[in-house]
Symmetry: C2
Subunit: 389 residues, 2 copies
C-alpha cells in the first residue's frame, strides 16, 4: 500500500450540510473526463433509491461523478425517494460543472444511514451550494463524509505500473456477504475497458467483500463502484487485477476491524474442504458464530466452540475424526479432538489483532476464507441506542 | 399449564457432585416401570458421547432411567469419552436399582457444558453414591442440576385426560434450529406406543424447538427425550399431541426468554409467504438479526431494520411493495414503506416482554414463526468470560 491519494484526474470534497450534527456528511467525487465504470450492488430485496438509480445508470458503462451522503440511507421511501436521489445527482452535476460539463446521468448517488426516512432535501440543496469550489486532491474530507458508525475513514492506494488505484470505503455494521456489503469507491487513472473493469471488480469483490461478515446482516444500500479515467494509459491487466484484489481485501479487513464495537479482525481460513463453496461456508459459520466472536474478544481459548461452529454446517461433507484446527498458529484440535496446548500462551496470542483460525477438514482440496470481527459490549451499546430519530 | 410435578411412577433426584462449585450438577430420573421412549438428537457433526450412546440406545424404543450432568459436555473426547458415558449409565443403573432392577442399557445419558474436556469420572463415581435414596417426586433438584448458563430451572406440566405430561428442560446458549437444540426431558404416565410417541415428539419439536434461535449456534449435546410409562392408561392421541405441542412451545419460549444475557422473548410471525418454509426462513432471518435483537433490547423502534432483515432472504419470493409489518400490534410498515406511527407509544410497548413482530409478505399462504431473544451486554460478558478451564 502507498500513501493514500487520489489518482490523476480525480478530485473530491466533503462537508457538513446538517444531516449529522457537525461531522462531514456529504461527499463529492469527480473525474475530469468521463470514466469507464463498473458497479456491484446489494442483493437485499429492499434496495435503497440510490441502488435503484445506480443500477439504471451503470448500464451506460461510463460515469463521471459521485455524490454520497451519510446519516440517511433513502431506503423504503418509494417514488418520492427515487426523485430525491435524482435531484441529488442533478445538484451534484451542477457543482461538478465547475470542472467541465457533467451531465446528471453521469453522476451516481450513494446514501447510507437510517432506513425508512426521507432525505432532508432542503439541507442538501442549501448545503451543497459552492461545494464545487472545495474539490481538491485530498480524499480524506470525502472519506469522512461517508462514515456512519465507522470510527475512522478508510482510504488506501496502490501503484500499478504508472497508474494508481485508490479505494475510499465505509462500513461497520449491517454487513454480510451477499455482494458488495458496504460503500466502496475505487478510482484509477489506468485505462480500462468497462467489461474488463467489471470483471476485475467482480473477481476482487468476490474474494474480499464476498467473504466479509461483521454481523450477518445485509445492508439495503451497499455498493462497490469502480471508475477508470485512463489518464495514466494502459497497464498490465493481471497486475491491475492483483492490485484491485489486494486493495479490496485491505478495505474488507479494515471494515471488519472497524466493525461496530469491534476491537480486532478475525480471519478464518479453511482448507481440505470438499469444494471451495463448502470451505467458505464453514469459514463463514465459524467467523459469524457469536460464541467464536466473544471468544476472540475475551481471548479465552475455548476451542470446543470451533468444533461446534464447524459441526453446525449440517449440509457440508465433514468427517469429524479428520478435522484439525489451529488458533494463532497453535494446534488446538487434531483428529476432531482437543489436544493439549499451552493455554496461557494461546490466551496471550488471542489478545492480539488479528485473530487467525485455520481449519483443515482433510476431505478434499477446497479452500476458502472468511473475514469478521469480535463481538463486544460496544456493539450492543451502539445498536441498542442507535437512534432511529 | 398446571402446577409442575412429575407424572405417576416417575421419580427424580439432583445433587452436587463437585462438577460445579456448589450448585446441583447431577440429575437422575427413573420410571418405576420400563417406558416407551422416543428421542431427537442434535444434527451437529460433532455429537457428544452421550448423543452417540443415546442414538444407539433409543433404537430399542424403551427406556427406564436418565442420568444427566452439567458443567462438562463430554464432546470431542473420543472412545474414552464414550466409555465414560457408558460408565455413567452403569453407575446410574446401580443407584436406580433401589427402585427395582434397571438394566444399564435402559439408561440414557445426557451431558452439557464445556466442549472438549473429559468428564471428571472420579467425582461422578463418588458423588453418585447413595443418590438412589434421594429419588422423590420433586422435579426441581434435578431440574436445577441440568442447568448451565440458565438463570432458572424449567419445569412445566399439563393434564391430558387422566394423564400428566411434564417437561424438564435446560438451555440458554448455543441454540439454533437444527433439531432438538437443548436438553429437554418429557415424562408422561399416559400409555403410548413408541412409534406414536416418536411421531408426536417430532411434530411438537418441529413447531417449537425447531423455530428457536438464541444465538444461531448449534449445540453438540442437544436432545429431546420423551418417556411414557402408561401408568395412567390411554389418552386421546390428539389431546396428547396438543399438550406436547403446548408444552414444548412453552419450554422453547422460556429457553429464549432465559437466553444468555436476554431480558425478553422475541416472537416473529410471518404470514403470506410463498410457502411455510420461506415463512420460517424469513421469520428466522428477522429473529436472528443482531440489529433486531439489539432493537428489542434498546426498545428503539428502528423499523427499517425489519425491512433489512426481511430483504436479506435473497432466495425467498418477496415483493417489497407488498410487505406489511407490525411491532407489538402497531403497524409500522405498509406497502414496503415505513408508515407514520406513534413512536413514543411503540417505544413503551417495546419495553415489554415478549416483543411481537408480525410480517405479512402477501405473496402466498405460507405461515411460520421463529422464537428468539434480545441481545444484551450480558451475553457478551457471559461468553467472553465463560471459562474454558
Amino acid at each position: 500500500m502507498n500513501e493514500p491519494r487520489l489518482p490523476r484526474g480525480f478530485l473530491a470534497a466533503g462537508r457538513n450540510v446538517g444531516l449529522k450534527p457537525s461531522d462531514n456528511d456529504l461527499a463529492l467525487f469527480v473525474s475530469r473526463r468521463p470514466a469507464a465504470a463498473a458497479a456491484l450492488f446489494t442483493r437485499n430485496h429492499f434496495p435503497g433509491a440510490p441502488i435503484v438509480l445506480g443500477r439504471e445508470r451503470i448500464r451506460q458503462g461510463r460515469l463521471q461523478g459521485l455524490v454520497v451522503n451519510s446519516a440517511c440511507s433513502n431506503v423504503a421511501t418509494g417514488e418520492a425517494g427515487l426523485e430525491d436521489a435524482r435531484e441529488m445527482a442533478r445538484l451534484a452535476a451542477h457543482e461538478l460543472g465547475a470542472h467541465g460539463d457533467v451531465p446528471e446521468e453521469m453522476v451516481l448517488v450513494g446514501s447510507t444511514g437510517v432506513i425508512g426516512r426521507r432525505l432532508p432535501m432542503d439541507r442538501i440543496r442549501t448545503g451543497i451550494q459552492g461545494m464545487g469550489q472545495d474539490l481538491g486532491t485530498d480524499p480524506w474530507p470525502a472519506a469522512r463524509a461517508i462514515m456512519t458508525t465507522d470510527t475512522r475513514p478508510k482510504v488506501f492506494s496502490m501503484q500499478v505500473g504508472d497508474a494508481v488505484v485508490t479505494a475510499v470505503g465505509k462500513g461497520a455494521g449491517m454487513i454480510a456477504p451477499n455482494m458488495a456489503t458496504m460503500l466502496v469507491y475505487l478510482f484509477t487513472d489506468a485505462e480500462m475497458e468497462t467489461p474488463r473493469l467489471h470483471e476485475a471488480l467482480q473477481a476482487a469483490s468476490r474474494a474480499s467483500f464476498g467473504v466479509l461478515s461483521v454481523d450477518t446482516d445485509t445492508s439495503t444500500s451497499d455498493m462497490v463502484v469502480a471508475l477508470a479515467n485512463g489518464e495514466a494509459g494502459e497497464v498490465d491487466p493481471e497486475a491491475f487485477g492483483a492490485a484491485l484484489h489486494a486493495l479490496c481485501t485491505r478495505v474488507a479487513e479494515e471494515v471488519a476491524r472497524d466493525g461496530e464495537g469491534a476491537t480486532k479482525l478475525v480471519r478464518v481460513q479453511v482448507e481440505g474442504a470438499a469444494d471451495p463453496s463448502e470451505a467458505r461456508q464453514v469459514a463463514r459459520s465459524v467467523v459469524e458464530s457469536p460464541l467464536i466472536k466473544t471468544m476472540a474478544y475475551g481471548a479465552d481459548p475455548n476451542v470446543g466452540r470451533i468444533l461446534m461452529a464447524v459441526g453446525k454446517c449440517v449440509g457440508c461433507r465433514i468427517k469429524p475424526e479428520r478435522v484439525q484446527a489451529s488458533v494463532q498458529g497453535v494446534e488446538v484440535i487434531r483428529a476432531g479432538q482437543s489436544v493439549e496446548f499451552d493455554e496461557s500462551r494461546v490466551r496471550e496470542l488471542l489478545g492480539g489483532d488479528p485473530v487467525e483460525i485455520r481449519i483443515d477438514l482433510d476431505v478434499g482440496r477446497g479452500r476458502g476464507q472468511a473475514l469478521g470481527c469480535d463481538l463486544t459490549a460496544g456493539y450492543i451499546e451502539e445498536n441498542a441506542a442507535y437512534a432511529s430519530s
